[in-house]
């Protein structure tokens, strides 16, 4: 149960990082010097989420 809770919270946090990165990328001009950095954050958060899914697959959710 607490394992599921931790996984849930962790996924939530990564989602927030990815979401804000996506928002900032969307709002930045194509020539914005920070744009590439923001895309790095987005890509890394996305990779972390995929890694989480692979290491702890979604069936952990079923007990919730």
């Amino acid at each position: 149960m607490s394992h599921d809770k931790e996984r849930h919270d962790f996924k939530n946090q990564l989602g927030i990082i990815r979401g804000f990165a996506e928002l900032l990328v969307k709002e930045s001009a194509p020539d914005d010097p920070h744009r590439a950095d923001l895309e790095e954050i987005y890509t890394a958060a996305n990779a972390a989420l995929e890694l989480l899914e692979r290491l702890y697959p979604a069936q952990a959710d079923t007990s919730q």
Binding site: G15, L23, A58, T62, Q64
Partner: protein
Amino acid sequence: METVLVVDDMVANTRLLTSLLEAEGHIVRTALDGSEALRLVRREPPDLILLDAVMPGQDGFELCRVLKQDPLTRLIPLVMVTVLTDSASRLRGIDAGADDFLSKPFNVPELLARVRSLLRLKRYTDELDSAEAIIVSLALTIEARDPTTNGHCQRLADYASALGRSLDLDEDDIDALTRGGFLHDVGKVGIPDSVLLKPGRLTPEEYALVQQHTIIGDRLCGELHSLRKVRPIVRHHHERLDGSGYPDRLRGDAIPLLAQIMRIVDIFDVVRTERPYKAARSFDDAAGELRREVALGRCNSELVAMFLEQVGPGVTQVPGEDLRASRGQARPSVGRSVGHTTRDGSVR
């Protein structure tokens, strides 16, 4: 501009959704728990609710259930937002009445597309609601054409819904009885004043014209999904069990129960109140009239007995007294109103 309420116990999530939705031109309100969300919804109903499923205290499923059981909030589209992707959680959400689901972390284009689509749905619902409001105003305007029977529609709505409750009908039926009280004669809008307000007896042609009000009313309500349970009342509230009523000369059980209820309470109210052609009569007279209808095989005896027991001589209104005031109900005023005359066949 439409308002979206975001409910999530994590501030960062509410901020993220706020930024995404405000960029699309929506007004966003946020709540961090169920009770704050309920307070906001009741104070200023939003057009859409995005609700986190997993929250401490009252979770999203519970809150969803509460909002979807309340007639005042159940038409607000509600999306459960969750990192839970399994079908058991989806089923819980569907059971609780959720209209849609979104997975966290969000796929932003999908989130925005769902929000747009549900807000469109809400606009249609609102338009239907206002169309119904127009039809109700129309019905009250028709009442107002004859200034002698103040509150007839309101009383019918009260009597009929109370009888529906005694019969243990479900909430949708009781709601239909309330609306039916207001709308049963809406079709009279299509009957000329010269006939509707004619003093003295109607010619057979005029009487046939008055009977058309049931069909006209049915057609008026026809386009509105929200009135689908009210239509049978509007069309069939002059049918008699023995098949001598109108417009379809239905017999016995073929007459919808809700329409039978409306006819009984209508007859009662007409006898009890003053009309241009008659004085208000006593409870016993009204009860006698209903028992005569039963004896003639026109009304269901159990419904009549139940209704008379429910209203009782001591409970019914004294003619001229405003029932709404005596019950302290906060209903919109129906103004000067009119009800039936004998000429539409309620009491003959």
